[in-house]
């Protein structure tokens, strides 16, 4: 009852014409930075930060938060249409989203992404409102040992979700982890593989590699063949998901919301991790896991819901603890601090208008985003009608500008170009480049957590098993690996059985006999 009253109060704050306008401004800008590859929510928030100095604190945070969650709506657009993730958190959306677009089902993919984003966004605000203080305490329990075990679990899940061979996925993970080694090691100050270059001190830019592997490589693959695209004037019905699409998507959306929200609370690259965890879960639960990667709508609905829900989760440590876990939330915190409003345990008591105004505005903002994004589906789909000789240079331009705008670094452009060629060759050899990118995100965090954990325990590995949360996650990772091994062995046995029955010695048998 108390919460309800507070929420009504929040709506009274956020429904004033000025705040509605700021909210709309935020979500529109968020959608734009989300659609443009390279420029992320952080860029948008930073650009608008000085403007907020003269605003009411609640208006400032309403607008900046709008950019933050709005960007997650826009991120899926380019993933689906041209196989280039608009945000790092939309890499996974490329897998099935782009395949759907190639089958002429870009409309339903975009629509389900928007609808899933809306449902997940709204659910995560609900979670933020009801569970913030409790979950904030959970976040504090995640010390280095817990983070390490979470990353191990993440990598195991990553090997699972690949669309092709697990062995190839593992090779790509190792490649990604190796790339992640480059840069100044935070724990020893030692520069690794930088060849004395200051601009490699922070490592190989993950964004540049992602843009190269996906964006540039996609174009290289496509210019080999002249595709005469059949452009069907899309009817409204063809843009919207069918009843069957909905039936298949609602489960993934709800599960994605839960997963995204919980992972969002944890520090690190929560948005990105949440998407591939969601994808792996859906693939696991599906009766047709082999069809993932060929245009299953579940593969779009789940991850897109997850990255939106992660936004709500990520607001928890920031609002309830005063500890921003990512640069985007840190910048929002500056916007509040500049007005003397201190996010943290006392925020709800000291500045209820800010907390509840923000919560209410997020409900409103999500509705605005849905209204904004559904009509945009019809507009964006026209992008596919642009002839390739205009579309490709345009995409390249956006990739280069986007990557350059993040660090103003020429080196990043070279990295992107090299990654582009590498991505082309990998594609030719039927390797899926996605695990490279995701391992690059997980690698540094995992290494750091491992070494910090060992520093806490003075080198005892037992610390990872003696702490309950950490032990549970390692156990789950172990079970997944054993489960996979068992199914591989069983399959091999089955194969051997059938070949024997046919009276033909299989390769295995022949080899065994040779010994």
């Amino acid at each position: 009852m108390d919460t309800l009253q507070s929420l009504l109060y929040g709506f009274s704050v956020s429904l004033t014409p000025a705040n509605l306008l700021y909210c709309a401004l935020g979500v529109v800008l968020g959608t734009i930075v989300g659609v443009l590859p390279g420029i992320g929510p952080l860029g948008g928030i930073t650009i608008l930060l000085p403007i907020t100095f003269g605003m009411e604190p609640v208006s400032a945070i309403i607008m900046l938060a709008g950019i933050y969650y709005g960007a997650m709506y826009g991120g899926s657009t380019t993933s689906i249409l041209v196989n280039i993730p608009g945000e790092a958190a939309s890499v996974v959306t490329c897998f099935d989203g782009y395949q759907m677009a190639r089958q002429g089902r870009a409309g339903p993919a975009l629509s389900i992404a928007a609808a899933g984003s809306y449902i997940a966004g709204t659910l995560s605000v609900l979670g933020l409102m009801l569970l913030a203080p409790m979950l904030a305490r959970l976040a504090l329990k995640f010390g280095p040992p817990e983070q390490f075990s979470l990353m191990v679990l993440g990598l195991v899940i990553l090997a699972y979700m690949g669309t092709g061979s697990v062995l190839k996925a593992l090779m790509m993970i190792v490649l990604g982890l190796t790339l992640a080694m480059v840069g100044i090691d935070h724990l020893s100050g030692f520069a690794r593989f930088t060849h004395g270059r200051a601009d490699l001190g922070d490592g190989v830019s993950f964004l540049a590699v992602a843009m190269g592997l996906f964006g540039v490589a996609e174009i290289l693959v496509n210019i080999e063949k002249t595709v005469v695209r059949e452009v069907i004037k899309p009817k409204l019905s063809a843009l919207l998901p069918t009843r069957e699409d909905w039936k298949r998507s609602i489960g993934p959306i709800l599960r994605g919301s839960g997963v995204g929200f919980l992972i969002g609370i944890l520090p690190g690259a929560a948005h990105i991790i949440s998407t591939f965890v969601s994808y792996a879960i859906e693939k696991r639960l599906s009766r047709h896991p082999e069809e993932f990667g060929t245009g299953r709508i579940e593969g779009v609905a789940g991850p897109e819901a997850a990255n939106n829900a992660a936004t709500g989760g990520a607001m928890i440590p920031f609002l309830a603890l005063g500890i921003p876990s990512a640069p985007a939330t840190a910048t929002m915190m500056v916007a509040l601090l500049i007005h003397g409003v201190k996010p943290g345990p006392m925020l709800m008591e000291q500045h209820p208008q800010v907390f509840w105004g923000l919560i209410a505005s997020m409900y409103i903002g999500n509705v605005m985003l849905l209204i904004l994004n559904l009509p945009l589906v019809g507009l964006f789909i026209n992008l596919l009608r642009v002839p390739q000789h205009f579309l490709f240079p345009g995409i390249l331009l956006v990739c280069f500008v986007g990557v350059y705008s993040v660090n103003l670094s020429g080196t990043d452009l070279w990295i992107m170009a090299i990654a582009g060629v590498a991505g082309y060759l990998l594609r030719k050899a039927a390797f899926d480049p996605a695990p490279i990118v995701l391992a690059m995100v997980l690698g540094p965090m995992m290494e750091q957590a491992l070494r910090q954990g060992l520093m806490m325990s003075r080198g005892e590995f037992g610390i990872f098993l003696s702490r309950p949360i950490s032990a549970t996650m390692l156990a789950v990772a172990g079970l997944l690996l054993v489960g996979h091994l068992v199914s591989v062995i069983r399959r091999a046995h089955a194969r051997r059985g059938t070949t024997r029955a046919e009276g033909m010695p299989s390769v295995f048998v022949a080899k065994g006999g040779g010994k």
Binding site: G189, A191, G196, A198, G201, P324, A330, M332, L337, I338
Partner: protein
């Protein structure tokens, strides 16, 4: 080429020419004639941003041109510093410089690396603010005072653990100074910044940490989640009149982050003079003062000339510590 495409190309060409021309004019006498870029060598939202952005917001009134903040993060500040050191010395590219300018080149030399930049590559415009740190423990900790912590740590060397913002970060050196002054041995757990240190202290993953005072400490202190044991500034902070300085406790340690604007060496003297005069006005601007008060940052202006002397001295003393620390 269709008509709209042609006109678009024409527009882009015209813009390019216009930008190029303005760059040429900028070499002239009436500095500044175009917006000035302030390079913050850390990501948005960090401690440097909270001084740099408010400062830039009042630049227009005092320099006649706006100041645009760009973040060029990486290598604990080395990437941004190197960028400014190698940029054109015309006064249009300014670095938001911090202690890292003292520490990084000397660490690089001691480790046998080629420094990304050198002290001699910068001319200070003036110091804007100084940010001290506070030693903090979880509110559940049995240590109520800094002396209690020191006493117990003396009895149990290498038993306890402190969190820093990273190896060879300024907070690592601050802790080394403290450990030397107190004669205690505490294990080091490097993290990646202020946020992770706060999590480590709140979650009891380490025994003691520090926070940027008072801005970062304030919400946690008010919510009674952490207890401040000591401050690293020369005098007590008005925000925390009850928290003693390390000096008062008998340890001759002070350590603060300084925020100083720097231009590349080779910038014409009249441009440096104009910037120094402008900065003085910016620092005294009421709007800037009020933003800084709300952020809990302390303005401590020092003229460029005075800072040069101060910096020489600091560079030498820090060099002595670093040599002891790295060549053990």
């Amino acid at each position: 080429m269709s008509r709209p495409t042609r006109s678009l190309v024409g527009m882009i060409l015209a813009l390019t020419v216009a930008v190029g021309e303005s760059m040429l004019v900028a070499e002239g006498a009436d500095f500044p004639t175009k917006p000035i870029t302030l390079v913050v060598p850390f990501p948005p939202g960090g401690g440097t941003d909270t001084v740099g952005r408010p400062l830039a917001s009042v630049a227009h009134q005092h320099l006649g041109q706006p100041m645009v903040v760009i973040n060029k993060a990486g290598g604990s500040g080395a990437v941004g510093a190197q960028f400014v050191a190698n940029s054109r010395p015309d006064g249009y590219t300014i670095l938001h410089g911090l202690n890292a300018l003292t520490e990084l080149p000397q660490v690089d030399e001691l480790l046998g690396r080629k420094p990304a930049f050198r002290k001699e590559q910068f001319i200070p415009i003036g110091q804007v603010a100084v940010t001290p740190f506070a030693m903090m423990v979880n509110v559940e900790s049995r240590w109520k005072t800094f002396q209690e912590f020191v006493a117990e740590a003396k009895q149990k060397p290498d038993e306890f653990q402190y969190a820093s913002a990273g190896v060879y970060s300024t907070t690592h050196f601050m802790w080394e100074k403290i450990l030397r002054a107190t004669g205690i041995r505490v294990r080091h757990m490097p993290t990646t910044g202020g946020g992770p240190i706060m999590v480590a202290v709140l979650g009891n993953h380490v025994d003691i940490g520090h926070c940027v005072a008072p801005a970062v400490c304030a919400p946690q202190v008010e919510a009674r989640k952490v207890r401040l044991l000591a401050i690293t500034s020369e005098t007590r902070l008005p925000t925390y009149p009850d928290v003693p300085t390390l000096k008062e406790l008998g340890y001759d340690v002070t350590h603060s982050i300084w925020h100083t604007l720097m231009v590349p060496a080779g910038t014409p003297p009249d441009v440096v003079a104009r910037l120094r005069q402008g900065l003085k006005g910016m620092v005294e601007d009421e709007a800037f003062k009020s933003l800084m008060t709300k952020l809990g940052e302390r303005i401590q202006y020092m003229s460029g000339e005075n800072f040069e002397k101060y910096w020489d001295e600091e560079y030498r003393t820090m060099g002595t510590l670093l040599r002891q620390l790295i060549k053990k």
